[in-house]
């Protein structure tokens, strides 16, 4: 006698340890196999875009800290680049180097958190996460030296950074970049050849380049499909055209490749930081920008390669002290569009892993 099964609809989230924030998935299962997925979000909506329209250009920087709260520095960077385009300001060279160093440190943090939580979702409960957080902590200490805060940094200003790095920052940074490759080796020894990790992630959640491009997916998720698209290379901003680095790509776009691309990108980030430290020269760190910036009427779109993908800020100015329109192109939100196609046909346990490997941040998705 054939067994008659009926599809079951299950709510995953919004309060669920594996959803990386208040994110809800309405999943239809046939037994254990995913038939359909409907993401529901908006639980963390704070109206950042509207709030930005009633704050001055400097005050908006504090809002950008809270978009992707794992990588505040890169949010700051994208916003100030957009502002500088809008107002026609060029930051001093030293400020650009400081920004790139801070942004690459932040990329390390974001990838460490992504790797840690990805393995947490995989069932390696908290052990790899704690290893990753150990190194994250040393970057947080560097940020504390640099700007006095660890998460909500507000370090960058339109036309530079607010203050030069203190003297003790440079030896500490040097120690960090010397030690970090060893820690990365340690992760690889712990994880990369682990058979459980390989069976759970290899060939699971395969994303094709065509699909990724159609969904306008960016960042490590796109690069894991073998498509070398990195804004630092294809549209170099700040001083990225003066440093040497590779764009690591994956082979087939499965969960393992997404993990591997992040590990390889961390090594490239350390390479970039080392070169920046060698190239940086003393000088001013902030251009002469009025405290109450009034850019000329017009619009500008500033974009950077954030840790999670292309992070862009579109600003429209009407000549006032606050942006007329403040639009955020958040990579987490756009990378989520690919989630449905990735999950259909896989099992519940793979669903959690695939979701973790995309590395979203709800602060940025809901804005």
């Amino acid at each position: 006698m054939p067994i008659r099964t009926e599809p079951v609809t299950v709510n995953l989230g919004p309060q669920h340890p594996s959803t990386h924030g208040v994110f809800r998935l309405r999943v239809t299962f046939d037994g254990e196999v995913v038939l359909d997925v409907e993401p529901v979000f908006g639980y963390l909506h704070r109206g950042s875009e509207k709030l930005g329209e009633e704050r001055t250009y400097t005050q908006v920087i504090t809002l950008t800290d809270r978009l992707d709260y794992v990588s505040a520095m890169t949010n700051n960077q994208a916003y100030v680049i957009a502002c500088e385009k809008l107002a026609g300001i060029v930051a001093p060279e030293r400020a650009m180097y400081l920004r790139v160093i801070a942004a690459e440190l932040q990329r390390l943090v974001s990838h460490l958190v992504a790797t840690g939580f990805f393995l947490n979702d995989l069932g390696a409960f908290a052990t790899p996460l704690m290893y990753c957080f150990r190194e994250r902590e040393s970057v947080m200490d560097l940020f504390e030296m640099l700007c006095g805060a660890r998460i909500t940094v507000s370090y960058m200003r339109v036309g530079g950074v607010f203050q030069d790095a203190p003297e003790e920052f440079w030896p500490a940074l040097n120690t960090f970049t010397t030690d970090m490759p060893h820690y990365l080796d340690e992760y690889e020894q712990l994880l990369t050849s682990n058979e459980i990790l390989l069976t759970r992630t290899k060939g699971v959640g395969i994303l094709t380049t065509e699909k990724a491009l159609n969904c306008s997916v960016t960042g490590p998720v796109l690069r894991s499909t073998g498509f070398p698209w990195d804004l630092r290379k294809v549209d170099p901003y700040e001083i990225y055209d003066r440093v040497q680095f590779d764009v690591p790509v994956g082979e087939q776009g499965d969960n393992y490749d997404r993990y591997k691309v992040r590990i390889m990108e961390m090594r490239q980030s350390i390479r970039i930081i080392d070169q920046c430290v060698q190239q940086i020269h003393p000088g001013p760190v902030k251009a002469d920008v009025p405290a109450l910036l009034r850019p000329p009427p017009g619009d500008a779109y500033g974009r950077i390669e954030g840790p999670k993908g292309e992070l862009g800020f579109y600003l429209v100015s009407d000549g006032g002290i606050a942006p007329y329109r403040f639009k955020i192109r958040s990579p987490s939100f756009i990378n989520l569009t690919v989630l449905r196609d990735l999950l259909i046909g896989w099992k519940l346990a793979d669903m959690i892993v695939t979701f973790g490997s995309i590395d979203i941040n709800m602060g940025e998705v809901d804005r």
Binding site: Q59, T62, E144, M145, G148, Q189, E195, D288, A291
Partner: protein, 194 residues
């Protein structure tokens, strides 16, 4: 052979048996805190404050309340207004430090503490009297004049307003209220400014 990768991974975790733990026992032990740390309990030097309310205007959340009245003092010395109310609601503060950055007279500094917990939300509003009476342990955030001399807010003695000094940044005019003389560097020895 299946399982070799797992064993290889266990070598990493096994190493931690002989390593010193990276965690510390917090209330007894403390991590070193950098002097630039933006902490709670703002440091306010009333002698320098001219009640211009720049801090209140720059605050993204509008949590600084300042009420003044004309005191009959001299405007060039920064005494034209007396402060009735100066409240900072640190229950809503996000410690971005824009108020400190905005202060044109270096009267407001970030604090350096981080262990501020209260039973009531209302207690988190810092009033002017509390700011006056508080021990001055300013953070060196945005105050490079404190940074160069190896000052540590955690262990060093409180800094009186004359020692806190002015930053000598080019965009600051050399002559300001409370600072006679063209050079900002001789401010600590000057008697004026209150």
């Amino acid at each position: 052979m299946y399982g070799l990768g797992i064993l290889n991974g266990f070598l990493v975790t096994m190493k931690n048996f002989i390593k010193k733990p990276v965690t510390i026992q917090y209330p007894e032990e403390r991590n070193p805190q950098h002097p630039r740390f933006r902490g709670e309990e703002f440091v306010w030097y009333e002698d320098r404050c001219t009640a211009c309310a720049s801090c209140a205007k720059y605050c993204p959340l509008g949590i600084i309340k300042i009420v003044t009245h004309p005191s009959g003092g001299k405007l060039p010395e920064g005494d034209a207004y007396a402060i009735d109310v100066f409240d900072i609601d640190i229950g809503r503060c996000m410690f971005c430090g824009l108020c400190v950055e905005a202060c044109p007279y270096d009267a407001l500094f970030m604090g350096s503490g981080f262990e501020e917990s209260k039973y009531k939300r209302a207690d988190l509003v810092i009033h002017a009297d509390r700011l006056r009476a508080a021990e001055k342990h300013p953070s060196t955030w945005f105050r490079p004049q404190l940074e160069g001399r190896g000052y540590d807010p955690q262990s060093d003695a409180p800094v009186p307003w004359k020692e806190a000094g002015r930053e000598s940044w080019p965009h600051h005019l050399p002559q300001r209220p409370g600072e006679p003389g063209a050079d900002g560097a001789d401010a600590p020895s000057s008697p004026a400014g209150h």
